[in-house]
């Protein structure tokens, strides 16, 4: 600091005292003349600092071409606020800088004419296998399910394959983010939220871990009376309770050993270690549970163990909607492309499930539970609308709701100023089947919508036209 002030005063003195005429020769003669011996040091110092600043700022300018894009004329469905029938979205860098019916478009902005199109927030898939499954029957390409029953240490987002053909196909239908989750066993592992654009796993991951996944079995066709809870569910719950207790004890011993070096230090146990954030209520658990009595038992478990929880699947949602609402648990529904197990529940049991849950006040999200048909996410929501769910709620369930459930609602899930520019432009209702996605933005970048499907299509279109 002292040196800097000295330099400042030195330069001031120099400038006031000396009449330096512009010109390098003048400056160099001045610099090398004897009278300026004292100031040579200061001047050198000053020049070095100056050039450093200049180079740096050039560097910074080169790194951040803060792109400005203006989407003009679209019908904007913000999800959390009012619809804007004819509005402008201004994107600066990664974020939505401004949004409204009248927004000032800076001159350097790239303008995208969107008359007749609709703008939606990018859709978010509540549970998918994107990036961890390529061809379901070719084991070498499937990393969704680790062997054994208890695998809390398995991180699905550490197994991502960004080159999966399913990712560009899925985003070409309007999905910008997806939860990638493992499955199988009792504790399958942890999931992460990815954006569907990135060269490396690091670039894909938006948040990880998002939840620890626990599985309760789906009832089968021969599922009999529901008067008693199934024996295996209670066994599983006991197993979990035991594990949680073990994890707590493991931590206790470790802390004690840290304080008192005479006590033996427990060996690293990767599974118990991984369960600690769960046990402390920091990392939510996503529990796949389907049958009515199982759900009730799970709600009890969550309360007793003081877990932060999200329910998944919940096929019998109609029957326990109130209990779930009272427990304040959100629900991620599994693919609506499943069959109801019990004839007595009716053929549309799974279709009317979402509406029943929403009516009772439960927050729901939809999922594709797939990699190869993850693009169908909006159409699961549409199916629920066909069977009684309100269209706005359906849209929320694929945008802001999953964002809130996964704790990223400050960044995405709706079109609001300050959030990430994950935007889809369609030529129709995004939940409809026959609409097309015209433009897609992920974190402010416009995404090329070509994908594996379109590449093959063009290749063979060429073949067809070649001899014509």
């Amino acid at each position: 600091m002292k040196g800097y002030l000295k330099m400042k005063t030195g330069i001031k003195k120099m400038v006031s005292r000396v009449n330096i005429k512009p010109g390098l020769s003048n400056f160099s003669s001045y610099f090398f003349s004897s009278r300026t011996k004292f100031n040579r040091k200061t001047i050198t110092f000053g020049v070095v600092i100056l050039s450093w600043l200049v180079i740096n700022s050039l560097f910074l300018i080169a790194q951040q071409p803060e792109q400005v894009i203006a989407i003009k004329g679209a019908k904007i469905i913000t999800v959390t606020g009012e619809e804007i029938p004819n509005g402008i979205i201004l994107i600066k860098g990664k974020l939505i800088a401004d949004i409204g019916p009248n927004v000032n478009i800076p001159s350097e902005a790239k303008v995208i004419e969107a008359q007749g199109l609709r703008a939606y927030p990018g859709l978010i898939d509540g549970y998918s296998f994107l990036g961890i499954q390529e061809i379901s029957s070719v084991r070498a390409t499937v990393d969704t399910r680790e062997t054994g029953d208890i695998n809390p240490q398995a991180n699905s987002y550490e197994a991502l394959r960004p080159d999966s053909v399913h990712i560009p196909i899925t985003r070409a239908n309007g999905i910008t983010c997806a939860l990638v989750a493992p499955t199988g066993g009792l504790i399958s592992g942890m999931s992460g939220l990815i954006k569907l654009d990135g060269w490396t796993p690091g670039e894909l991951v938006v948040k990880g871990p998002v939840a620890m996944h626990i599985q309760f079995p789906m009832p089968r066709r021969s599922f009999r009376r529901q008067s008693k809870p199934s024996v295996s569910t209670s066994k599983k719950i006991n197993q979990l309770k035991k594990l949680f207790a073990e994890a707590r004890y493991y931590e206790k011993r470790r802390l004690a050993a840290q304080k008192n070096t005479l006590l033996p230090y427990p060996d690293f146990d990767e599974k118990l270690e991984a369960l600690l954030p769960v046990v402390h209520g920091q990392l939510p658990v996503m529990i796949s549970v389907y049958a009515e009595n199982d759900i009730k038992q799970v709600i009890k478990l969550v309360k007793e163990e003081k877990l932060k929880a999200i329910l998944f699947g919940v096929h019998d949602g109609c029957k326990v909607a109130n209990e779930i609402a009272q427990a304040g648990l959100p629900v991620v529904l599994d693919s609506l492309y499943n069959m109801p197990v019990r004839w007595e529940d009716g053929y549309d049991a799974l279709y009317r499930n979402p509406a029943a849950l929403v009516k009772a006040g439960v927050k729901i999200a939809f999922s594709s539970q797939s990699a190869s048909v993850a693009k169908d996410l909006p159409w699961h929501a549409a199916k629920a609308v066909a069977f009684g769910l309100e269209a706005e709620e359906a849209l929320k369930a694929v945008t802001i709701n999953p964002a809130e459930i996964f704790g990223v609602a400050d960044q995405m899930g709706s079109l609001e100023k300050g959030k990430l520019a994950n935007i889809v432009l369609t030529d129709g209702d995004i939940l409809e089947i026959k609409r097309h996605v015209k433009h897609l933005f992920i974190e402010g970048q416009e995404i090329d919508l070509s994908n594996y499907y379109t590449e093959l299509l063009h290749k063979f279109e060429k073949r067809l036209n070649e001899n014509k």
Binding site: E134, I135, S136, S137, V138, V165, H166, Y337, N338, M339, W343, E344, G346, Y347, D348, A371, S372, V373, K375, D376, P378, W379, A382, K383, V385, A386, F387, A391, L431, E432, I433, K434, R435, H436, Y452, Y453, T454, L456, L457, F460, E461, R463, L464
Partner: protein, 441 residues
């Protein structure tokens, strides 16, 4: 107890009534999607004896006919699923590679609840088939989904007779979990082609044997000790194919094996009714159009095995636009409920028009099965197989409200909702009965 006895007697009485003739029905004021003759708003359909007698606007129905008010609803022909395995007690005769002697007609299960599930999706007719475990499977069967009736009532005798063939990973057992010490031949695609060729050669020889016998029979001197050839039920369907009385429905994925099968069909002179799944048909649209061979495909169920990895969602639309007769099928007791959603996907992936998309699940599969004179569109004289939807069937927000076969309503959502309500009521009453006494009665 008495109620149940009455119900039972009524039920049994209904069963005893033989050969239910078609019913009369009048559908009023709906948007009629006829498929072949355009769209009629505010249209009526008069059905007598299970057949469509009149289509038009402001028709006057005769007295006493039940009326279905289709105001605000969309009326289309019943959906035809040309590839399923429902309503059967058995799918694959997988112990041997060639099982052409089996007939799915022998194992129809009219009580399969999947029939009802299909009705809830507006499907009225299915081509239900042998599975794809064998290079040559068995004879398939076409059924109308008359839930509650007998298998004989459901059987459609006027459809093409079809024999199931399969190429690729399934018949060569590539996805078996445990490779046995003694795997079943064939285990490669070349074996699959060779075994099919072998059977047709055998069938040719068998045909020759019978020709000779029939010739020699004419000679009175030889008749007394002339023995007919042993009837070979396995080769007879192949003979029928070479005589043009049965067509092949061949399960295939890769474009190369599809072309090989076309070659085989020329070698032995049989007709191909359609290729099933045919996920790479877009690569050979040229050949398929030239040979006039249709395909029966998924909208977008792909990437579940290696040979399905190059299946693109644009395929159905692309082939349809380039001269190939395309139908969309489900091959699943679950997907059969949303064939109309699958058809809509061809508008998003490939830009088919609404009319063209609807054809994929109505008149096109009908043509492939040889039943287009009876079903597949709303035309006077055709069977009254109709599905009524709440919104346009190609909208994602639609659902099926009623499914009608030959004028009789087999699925009615309104009735279903009433029954569900009654069930809920009963449950509530039962629960209330228990609580006052604080335990079970």
């Amino acid at each position: 107890m008495k109620k149940i006895v009455v119900l039972v007697i009524v039920f049994i009485g209904l069963l005893l009534t033989p050969g239910w003739a078609g019913q009369d029905l009048f559908i009023k004021n709906g948007t009629l999607l006829t498929i072949t003759k355009g769209i009629i708003s505010g249209g009526d359909i008069l059905i007598i004896d299970g057949k469509i007698r009149q289509i038009g606007q402001d028709l006057a129905p005769p007295e006493g006919i039940p009326v279905v008010d289709a105001t605000g609803l969309y009326v289309m022909p019943g959906i035809i699923d040309s590839h399923t395995h429902i309503a059967l007690s058995g799918t694959n005769e997988g112990s041997v590679a060639i099982s052409s002697e089996v007939r799915m007609k022998d194992v129809i299960n009219a009580e399969d609840t999947s029939i009802y599930t299909a009705l809830t999706g507006g499907v009225t007719m299915v081509h239900t088939m042998h599975g794809s475990a064998n290079p040559i499977g068995g004879e398939n069967v076409v059924l109308k989904l008359k839930w509650g009736k007998t298998a004989e009532d459901m059987y459609v005798p006027y459809a093409y007779r079809t024999l199931k063939f399969a190429l690729g990973e399934n018949p060569k057992r590539a996805n078996m979990m445990v490779v046995s010490a003694n795997p079943r031949y064939p285990q490669t695609r070349m074996g699959v082609v060779a075994i099919i060729r072998r059977e047709f050669e055998k069938a040719r020889a068998y045909m020759e044997e019978w020709k000779r016998y029939n010739q020699l029979k004419k000679n009175k001197k030889l008749v007394s000790f002339l023995l007919p050839p042993r009837r070979n039920l396995r080769l007879e369907p192949l003979v029928l194919m070479m005589e043009g009385k049965m067509v092949a429905r061949c399960h295939t994925y890769q474009a190369d094996e599809t072309l090989e099968f076309i070659k085989l069909s020329k070698e032995f002179g049989f007709k191909i009714g359609a290729f099933e799944h045919a996920w790479e048909a877009y690569k050979i649209a040229k050949e398929l159009a030239a040979e006039k061979i249709g395909i029966s495909v998924f909208a977008d169920s792909w990437a579940y095995k290696m040979e399905a990895y190059q299946g693109i969602a644009y395929m159905a639309a692309f082939c349809a636009k380039n001269g190939v007769l395309v139908s969309i099928n489900s091959d699943s007791g679950e997907r059969i409920r949303r064939l109309f959603n699958d058809a809509a996907k061809t508008m998003r992936y490939g830009d088919l028009s609404e009319e063209e998309a609807l054809k994929l699940i109505t008149i096109n599969p009908a043509i492939q099965l040889g039943v287009e004179k009876r079903v597949g569109s709303l035309e006077v004289g055709k069977d009254a197989d109709i599905a009524i939807f709440k919104e346009h069937p190609l909208s994602a927000f639609t659902r099926c409200e009623k499914t009608i076969i030959e004028g009789e309503i087999y699925f009615d959502r309104a009735k279903y909702l009433e029954e569900q309500k009654k069930k809920e009521q009963k449950k509530k009453e039962k629960a209330e009965k228990k609580t006052p006494k604080g335990g079970l009665k």
